[in-house]
């Protein structure tokens, strides 16, 4: 169980985290979603005892992160942009080091290192310095390093940012396996897709505040309805298509220069029929028309009200 109430962290005049409440029941996965600078990492750093909160309180399995940091540290594993491994020694040495720091015997630490290398498909690279690893191998080792102590609670801070899809799927499978074994996981991500793939519940934060919380389906429902996508055969017809749809009473679509299609949130079962007949009358040449449930990324953008800056 991870719990926080009114967590606040200020850096000088800037408030990075401004009253975040979280609750992650034991054995579940919470996705903490937000754009860059939303306060995700700072929240995780407070929950993992690395940074002292300026306000509010937080606990892991009932242990207060400020007053009982030691107990908290013996329960958690941390993988993230900021908690990494030593590049100047091998993967095997890294895992052995952490095993020793977690009070495993020499033999126990060695065995644990081998187990984890095997599980994360790093046996062949185990003796090589980590600086020679690919991005995917590096992340697998990061995750392995946080599992040496078989933590009951795992914090994953943007575990797949910058990974190719195959490495990302492999990492997701590992996280699912951990959860199947009863781990409690708090995962931060910029990708709604990742939260949907792994999390039971999602908390969206922006500007240091919680802007939405709930199950992924609930969040989708909050944004509501469907989105009509109309792609004209000629790109320069995009504004005309938008105008036709507006005259047909379907609402005004925001169209930017360079858009290849018109996206318009619609509601009601007749919207598609109305759109198709209006477009038919207009004589514009249309490449495709369809309606879609909004992607979670669209939900995310609606909730946070920001364009995602490049990763």
């Amino acid at each position: 169980m991870i719990r926080s109430e009114g967590l606040v962290k200020r850096f000088g005049a800037a408030t990075a985290v401004n009253g975040v409440d979280l609750e992650v029941p034991t054995g579940t996965v919470l996705g903490l979603l937000g754009p860059n600078g939303a306060g995700k990492t700072t929240t995780v750093r407070m929950l993992t005892t690395l940074v002292r909160p300026d306000g509010g309180r937080a606990s892991v399995h009932g242990f207060d992160v400020v007053r009982e940091p030691h107990q908290v540290r013996s329960l958690i594993g941390l993988t993230g942009q900021y908690a990494t491994v030593d590049e100047g020694i091998s993967g095997r040495e890294n895992l052995y080091l952490i095993g020793r720091l977690l009070d495993l015997s020499r033999k126990g630490a060695r065995q644990r290192a081998e187990q984890l290398l095997e599980r994360f498909d790093l046996v062949a690279a185990g003796g090589r310095q980590v600086r020679t690893y690919s991005g995917g191998m590096r992340r697998r080792l990061d995750l392995a390093a946080s599992l040496v102590g078989e933590p009951a609670v795992l914090f994953l801070d943007e575990p797949t940012t910058g990974l190719d899809p195959r490495s990302r799927n492999g990492l997701w499978d590992e996280v699912r396996a951990l959860v199947a074994n009863g781990a409690t996981v708090l995962l931060t991500t910029q990708y709604m897709e990742e939260a949907e793939a792994l999390a039971d519940r999602v908390v969206v934060i922006d500007g240091g505040r919680v802007v939405a919380a709930g199950f992924t389906e609930e969040l989708r429902a909050r944004v509501g309805g469907q989105v009509l996508h109309v792609r004209p055969a000629r790109v320069h017809d995009v504004p005309s298509v938008a105008r036709v749809l507006a005259y047909a009473g379907l609402g005004v679509a925001a169209v930017d220069a360079g858009d290849e299609l018109v996206r318009l949130p619609v509601s009601g079962p007749d919207a598609l029929t109305t759109a198709v007949s209006a477009l038919g009358r207009s004589g514009l040449s249309i490449a495709s028309v369809d309606t879609r449930v909004p992607s979670l990324d669209e939900v995310f953008l609606t909730l946070t009200g920001t364009e995602r800056s490049g990763s």
Partner: protein, 269 residues
């Protein structure tokens, strides 16, 4: 709010005993030594660099400073051993700063280990480097013609005095590494502060020709005190004069910079 809401799955530790602290420190020491083994170039500052300085001073300046190169070598060598410490101890701060920069520190700090273990482990590894550097320099000195005028006990004594002072310098270096933010600046600052201490001392030349204020500085400068102690131990002469000052400085620096470093390590986020 100390009630356990949910029975924790793993073992929960509240305190760490001194034996655990030692074990954790040694695990970190091992990590740092493995790093050196993987990248032996890290030893150049403690070996090749002082060798080059020795050659420059003996063969370029030696004849001008002393009557002949050999007698200057006898004078210089204990000083170079002290300079070797200053060079080698810089690695402590640079290493700590690098660990903070790339995120390894967060990994350590999220583990249930004593904060001091990371620092102690680092300094212990650097002490091994220092000792290796001293032994290499001693052999090098013998090869190019330096001759110990005393006995093996005195040599051992000199090494002890040197390593103790090196230990103190490592903690100063650790402090710099924790206070200054970027590894590059740590490198510069770690170099800068040692320059006046080295040249404003009896390390390279006798202080007799220096102006009064500099002589005054030099006479209380730990570099002078440690160098002259080692000179007496290796070349013969009264040891006691400077020994108290050398040990006093070393212990004093340790007493000041160990707590300061630990404090900054705890505070740094």
């Amino acid at each position: 709010m100390t009630t356990v809401v949910q029975a924790p799955v793993g073992p929960v530790r509240a305190r760490i005993g001194p034996r655990a602290v030692l074990r954790h420190s040694l695990a970190i020491t091992r990590r740092n030594l493995v790093q050196v083994r993987n990248d032996p170039g890290q030893l150049l500052d403690a070996t090749l660099m002082p060798m080059i300085f020795t050659l420059i001073f003996v063969y370029v300046f030696g004849g001008a400073i002393a009557t002949d190169q050999h007698s200057y070598l006898q004078y210089l060598m204990p000083g170079i051993m002290v300079q070797t410490l200053a060079f080698a101890s810089r690695a402590t701060g640079i290493g700590l700063s690098t660990d903070f920069g790339n995120g390894l520190m967060d990994r350590f700090r999220a583990l249930p280990i004593a904060r001091s273990a990371v620092l102690t482990g680092r300094v212990l590894a650097d002490l091994c480097r220092l000792l290796l550097g001293q032994l290499v320099m001693l052999v090098f000195a013998l090869v190019i013609g330096f001759r110990v005028q005393t006995g093996p006990l005195e040599v051992l004594g000199a090494l002890l005095v040197l390593v103790l002072y090196g230990f103190a310098l490592c903690w100063v270096s650790a402090f710099i590494g924790l206070v200054v933010r970027s590894p590059q600046t740590v490198q510069t600052v770690g170099f800068l502060w040692t320059i006046p201490l080295q040249f404003g001392s009896s390390m390279f030349v006798p202080t007799a020709t220096m102006p009064g204020w500099l002589r005054a500085f030099s006479s209380v400068n730990p570099t002078t005190l440690v160098t002259d102690t080692c000179r007496a131990l290796l070349n013969g002469g009264p040891v006691v004069t400077n020994l108290a000052g050398a040990l006093g400085w070393s212990l004093g620096l340790v007493l000041v910079f160990v707590p300061l470093s630990v404090w900054h390590y705890r505070r740094r986020t």
